[in-house]
Symmetry: C2
Subunit: 341 residues, 2 copies
C-alpha cells in the first residue's frame, strides 16, 4: 500500500481533500544535486545505471516533496533498443546519426526483446521502489510512437519536424510499418515496467501538436490508443499530447485514466473538449515559475479553482526549465499543499 | 482598380465564384529564381534595395499566379529601425547580438521616424505596385509586438522563447514599455505602407501560441488590437496568430477583416471559435505539399468544402517550406482555381 495515494486516487476519479501534484522533468537540471551527478556521468550512463537512475528519481522527492515520483529515463531508449543509433550531444540534444529515410531503413529496425535491451530500466524501477519505501507512487513513461518516429526520421530535435512529416506524407506505407514496430516495442516495454513495479504510466506525445487533426488520428492517436488498450488492465495510463487540444475529445473517450494538457488550453476549454469526465493533468506554464513566489502561489490556487480539486492532477504544462530557482519549484508544490487549508 | 479583386472581395465578405488563394512565404526559397538572387545578394540587401524586393515580390506572381502578392521584407526590419542590432546569419537565422534584458535596455529603444529608417520599404511598395500593374492586390505586413519582442529579448530564434517569456513574467513593467514602443512604431510603419500603396496588411503573431490564454491577452492581443484599431479605417487588416486558436473568439470580435489559422485548427473549429462571421484564411499544412499532386488537389478541395467558399481565403497554415517542389506549389494554387469548375 502506498502511503500517499492522492495521485492514484485522482487517477481513479475519487474525491480528494486537495489535488495531487508532481512536475514533468522534476528530476532534472534545476536541481543542484542533479547537476552534480550530470557533471560526473554522461547521459546514457545515468539512464543505464540503475543506482544513478534511482537516485535521480528520488532527488526531487527529498527536496520538494511532490505526490509522485517519475522514473529518470528518456523516451529515446526505445529507438536505441530497436537498433537505431542515438547519441545525446551536450548543448545540442539528441542526435541520431543514421536517421530513417527509406522503407529499407524501416525494414532494418527490430522489435527487440525488452529484457535483453532494456533490463537496466526494470532494474532501476525495482531499486527506486525500494528507495521510495511506498511513500509515493512511481510513474513510468514512454514517448508516443509518433514522437519517437519524429526523432528517428528527423535525426535530431526540430522546431517543426518537417523531415519526419515529409516522410509520412510521401511514404505513408513505410511510416505506418515503422509506427507499428515502435508501438509493439512500447507495449512490451510498458508492460514490463508495470511488472517491475511502476504504479502508473504516462505516454508523452511531445510532437503530436505538429499534425493536423486528421493526420493526428492517422499517424499518432491510432498508435497511442493501441498502447492504452494493451495497458489499461495493467495500470492507469496518462496521455500527454503537447499542443493536442484538438484531439482531447477522442482521447476523452478512450480507456486512458487521465489526460495531460498544456497551458494554451484553459481549464474550462480542457474540461469541455475532453468531455468533462476524465481526470486532467496540468497545465501551469513552466516559464511562469519565473514569476515572484506570491504570484506563483496565487496563480496555482486560481488554476485549481478553475480545474476543480477533483479529477485533477496539478502539474506543469510541459517540463520544468533549467533556469527555475529551486525555491520557486518548491513554492509551486507547496501552493498545492496549502490549498483548502 | 485591381483587375483580380477576389482577395479584396473575400476580405469584405462578398460572395465569390471561388475563394482567392495566396501562400505565406510564396516569395521564397522554394523558387529557383529566388535562390539565384539570394546567392548574389545578402538578406538585408534584398530587403533594402527596392528593385530587388519588388522583383522577388512579383516572382511567384509570374510563376504560380496566386491571387495576391505580398511584399518581400522581414518582420525584423522594425526592431532594426528601433535601434536594435539585427543580423541574419546563414544556416542560423536571425541573430540580435545585443538583446534586451533590462529596463535600461528598454529605455534605449527608440520609436523612429519611419520615413528616415524604413523609406526603402515604401519605395519598394511603389515600385512593386508599378510592376504589378493592378493585376493583383499587394499585401504589406508586420510582426506582432509580442513576436518582435520575442526576438528582441531572446536574441535569436527559439523553440519556446523561454528567455522572452521569463523577461515578461519577471519584469512585466519593462516588457509593457517595450511592447508599447514596438506597437507605436508598427502603427506608423503600417500606415505609411498603406499610403505607399499596399491594399491590405497582415500582422504575423508567429509566437503568440507560446502564451497561455490569459497571458496572451496581456502581452500580445492588447497590442495587436491597438494596431487593428489604428489601421482599420485605412486598409483591411488580417491577423495570423500561429497556435492562437484559443484567442479566435476575442479576435473575431475585433475590427480585423480576416483571421489566419494554422492547420491544427479544423475548419469547423475555426468557424466555431471565431464566431462564424469573420473571413478566415488558411490552413493547409505546409508539409502536406510533399504529398503526391493528386492528394494535394483532393485535400485542397476538401478544405474549401469544409471552410465554405465564401468569407474564406485559401492559404497555408504557415510559410511554404524550402523543399517543396515548384510544381507542388503550383498544384496547390491550381486546385483552388479548378474549384467550382
Amino acid at each position: 500500500m502506498i502511503k500517499n495515494d492522492l495521485f492514484l486516487r485522482a487517477l481513479k476519479g475519487e474525491t480528494v481533500q486537495r489535488p495531487p501534484v508532481w512536475m514533468m522533468r522534476q528530476a532534472g537540471r534545476y536541481l543542484p544535486e542533479f547537476i552534480a551527478l550530470r557533471d560526473k556521468y554522461d547521459f546514457f550512463t545515468r539512464c543505464q545505471t540503475p543506482e544513478l537512475a534511482a537516485e535521480i528519481t528520488v532527488q526531487p522527492i527529498r527536496r520538494i516533496a511532490p505526490d509522485a515520483a517519475i522514473l529518470f529515463s528518456d523516451i529515446l531508449v526505445i529507438p536505441q533498443a530497436m537498433g537505431i543509433d542515438v547519441e545525446m550531444k551536450p548543448n545540442f540534444g539528441p542526435y541520431l546519426p543514421n536517421p530513417i529515410r527509406t522503407i529499407q531503413d524501416v525494414e532494418k529496425v527490430i522489435v527487440p526483446d525488452v529484457h535483453e535491451t532494456l533490463g537496466y530500466v526494470f532494474d532501476a524501477i525495482k531499486l527506486t521502489k525500494e528507495m521510495l519505501n511506498d511513500e509515493v507512487p512511481l510513474i513510468g513513461f514512454a514517448g508516443s510512437p509518433w514522437t519517437i518516429m519524429c526523432y528517428a526520421v528527423e535525426g535530431q530535435g526540430s522546431k517543426s519536424f518537417d523531415k519526419a512529416k515529409g516522410f509520412c506524407f510521401s511514404h505513408p506505407e513505410a511510416a505506418h510499418v515503422l509506427l507499428q514496430k515502435i508501438t509493439d516495442t512500447t507495449i512490451l516495454y510498458l508492460k514490463e515496467k508495470v511488472k517491475s513495479g511502476v504504479d502508473a504510466v504516462q505516454i508523452f506525445d511531445s510532437w503530436g501538436g505538429m499534425l493536423s487533426p486528421v493526420d493526428y488520428q492517422e499517424f499518432s492517436w491510432k498508435y497511442i490508443n493501441q498502447i492504452i488498450e494493451a495497458l489499461a488492465d495493467d495500470a492507469p495510463v496518462i496521455v500527454f499530447g503537447k499542443g493536442c487540444w484538438f484531439a482531447l475529445g477522442e482521447m476523452g473517450k478512450s480507456r486512458a485514466s487521465a489526460l495531460g494538457v498544456d497551458w494554451t488550453c484553459s481549464p474550462r476549454n480542457a474540461r469541455y473538449l475532453s468531455g468533462g469526465n476524465i481526470t486532467l493533468q496540468g497545465n501551469f506554464d513552466p516559464s511562469r515559475l519565473l514569476s515572484p513566489i506570491p504570484v506563483i502561489k496565487k496563480m496555482v490556487h486560481e488554476m485549481i479553482d478553475e480545474f476543480g480539486k477533483d479529477k485533477y492532477i496539478v502539474n506543469l504544462g510541459h517540463g520544468i526549465l533549467p533556469n527555475i530557482p529551486v525555491d520557486h519549484a518548491k513554492a509551486f508544490i507547496d501552493a498545492v499543499k496549502e490549498y483548502n487549508q
